[in-house]
Symmetry: C2
Subunit: 344 residues, 2 copies
DNA sequence: GATAATCCAGAAAGCGGTTTCGTTGTTTTT
DNA sequence: AAAAACAACGAAACCGCTTTCTGGATTATC
């Protein structure tokens, strides 16, 4: 039912090679035959088999997408999914489709051998989206000949690059904003200490406090187990249990912030009246909470787009490692108390 | 650097066919050579090339995922993304990976020819996720020999099936709940009248009103342009502008409900005190709104899982068309006023 | 002990493309 | 007018795997 290249060749009365050359824009074909064959291709609706092409050329026009790490990052992740969405759009514009490897046990091996799977499919490149508890097979892939771009994941392979927001600067912006609002006792709620992202944000936070000569109270620095809401709730409860609360808190993700607000509400502690909160990421949900969540916006669109562009470059020009840092932006809503002070 | 079947054959001192047979569990291989070759495969980390296998067998072990329609449905859709997540998990368990076709213009044609792309990649099956304004090429795919499952999309091809929640019943449950709470003046906010889903929900709603002998006031039945928040906001504003409001409203999606609540809040109309609201889908955001959004939960996990299972069956047993209807469930939170009446 | 049945394994064609290299006929150069 | 250059196309090998068919060795059957 579906045509193959031989059919087209026969219909056009030319050889298979000629058809192939026309498809691939070779120059040694006359305009005449070219237009004639192209016409036939259009009429028949012929599309070349991707597997045959891949087999012959080693290039599949496919980009592998991997949710790295064993923990909880998947399609439902509000931040990464937006990055992915933008990535997909841009990659589509560049002529690539996306393939998602299932995290489930891979048939042959006990463990998830990403490199093997990428080779298996001849992907042209890979997007690695960071989770926690990275498998060792991630670094295998990083160090392979397959171009890789990490999102929130520092890759170091010769054919790799990565992109993330300027996590250090985020904290500076938050601290400065809190400072401007008159808050002097500042705290930080992070993910686990295994998260590099969270650690950078924390160190940026501490540095900013130092620079402004603000006190650093270790009771106000607490890590949870991940970036999710439940962890924010639980961590905030611990801080509340400790007794002494800071005047304002930076949570390393909006979900952590939302969880923290839930804990505060439960203890009848008002936000931002008693404790102000700023989250991070600017996920959809920021618009639905009460109070609306002030946050550090990560430019997810830009991150996804640039990731695609970087990967494209890596694939087509093998231009060594590179990394991009995207400027974060403070989005002022209600949870920081700026509006109450007419500062918005 | 990567091994191919010939390398394995050479190392093992057997023929290529023998290796292939071992990989594919043919019976005419002695236990001896089998274990020996398998050992070598393990050691070398050999994985067969998918394109070669696909080329030879016409089966790629790939499932195509398509966001149908030209409008606004992508990875950021809170409902579909959860279905997709569950689908991906189950499909992974069944040994399939997912490929996402970019919506962007396909190189060869002006229009997005889904069938061609599926053939191009030799996908074993397809998941079609409904949007609005379906392209004609969707029905081409539906009627092709490629197994397809539609989510919220009635497919009718010989090798197709579909799955959706029992949209009619949803409305029944909502109306009954409203009735129980003493509300008699009920309204409905839907998507556009082009959405079959929305229309079913509306007719279910009307039917339930009839059955209970409740009044049907056309001013209380308004459609927006889609299922998104902005549409809910705008539609609610129109209803408010009309003057006379119902006591309770069923919105055809949570996002519509959230938009409606925003409009109500803006007009200082209390929820649920003056107007009660129930949404639909049970997306994450329901937990973040004030008041918390009572909703009809669609079992997204189940929908995704069953979609995978149905597709698997279609692929492996070509067992004709089938459809599944999944039971919806009322999730009582705050926006319906049940708790205020001690009815939760 | 001859024949049939069974077990294992390999040869080879084929899947649908790509790409190198060669061939032919035409044009240009000198 | 002969030589060189070029334009346009095709033959064929190859990519890595599957699968049918064939055949030799071993075992069972009479």
């Amino acid at each position: 039912m579906a045509y193959n290249i031989k059919d087209i060749a026969k219909i056009a009365g030319v050889s298979v090679s000629t058809v192939s050359k026309i498809i691939n824009n070779y120059s040694d074909i006359s305009e005449d035959t070219k237009t004639r064959v192209q016409q036939i291709i259009k009429e028949t609706g012929y599309t070349p088999s991707n597997s045959a092409k891949t087999l012959a050329t080693k290039s599949s026009n496919l980009i592998g997408v991997i949710f790295a790490g064993m923990l909880n990052v998947d399609f439902t992740h509000p931040f990464f999914i937006e990055v992915l969405n933008s990535f997909k759009k841009q990659m589509g514009l560049l002529g690539y489709d996306l393939i998602f490897f299932s995290n489930e046990k891979f048939q042959s091996g006990d463990t998830n051998d990403y490199l093997a799977r990428c080779l298996h499919f001849n992907v042209d490149g890979c997007l690695l989206i960071s989770g926690q508890e990275l498998e060792t097979s991630i670094s295998e892939l990083d160090n392979s000949s397959i171009p890789c771009i990490g999102v929130d994941l520092k890759l170091s392979g010769d054919n790799s690059g990565y992109i993330m927001s300027d996590n250090f600067k985020m904290s500076t912006k938050v601290v400065e904003h809190f400072y401007l609002l008159g808050y002097r006792e500042l705290g930080y709620i992070g993910s686990s200490s295994e998260s590099e992202i969270s650690n950078i944000r924390e160190s940026g936070f501490r540095k900013a406090l130092e620079d402004l000569g603000l006190p650093i109270n270790e009771n106000w620095f607490l890590n949870g187990s991940n970036f999710f809401e439940a962890s924010g709730y639980e961590t905030m409860r611990r801080m509340i249990a400790n007794g002494n609360l800071p005047r304002a808190i930076f949570a390393a993700s909006d979900q952590l912030a939302i969880g923290a607000m839930r804990a505060l509400k439960e203890s009848s502690i008002t936000v931002p009246g008693t404790v102000a909160i700023i989250g991070c990421d600017d996920i959809e949900a920021c618009n639905y909470t009460t109070p609306l969540l002030t946050t550090i916006k990560q430019n997810k669109d830009k991150i996804g787009r640039l990731a695609a562009l970087m990967l494209y470059d890596l694939i087509n020009n093998q231009s060594g490692t590179s990394s991009f840092s995207v400027e974060p932006e403070l989005i002022i809503r209600e949870s920081c108390g700026a509006s109450e002070r007419g500062l918005v």
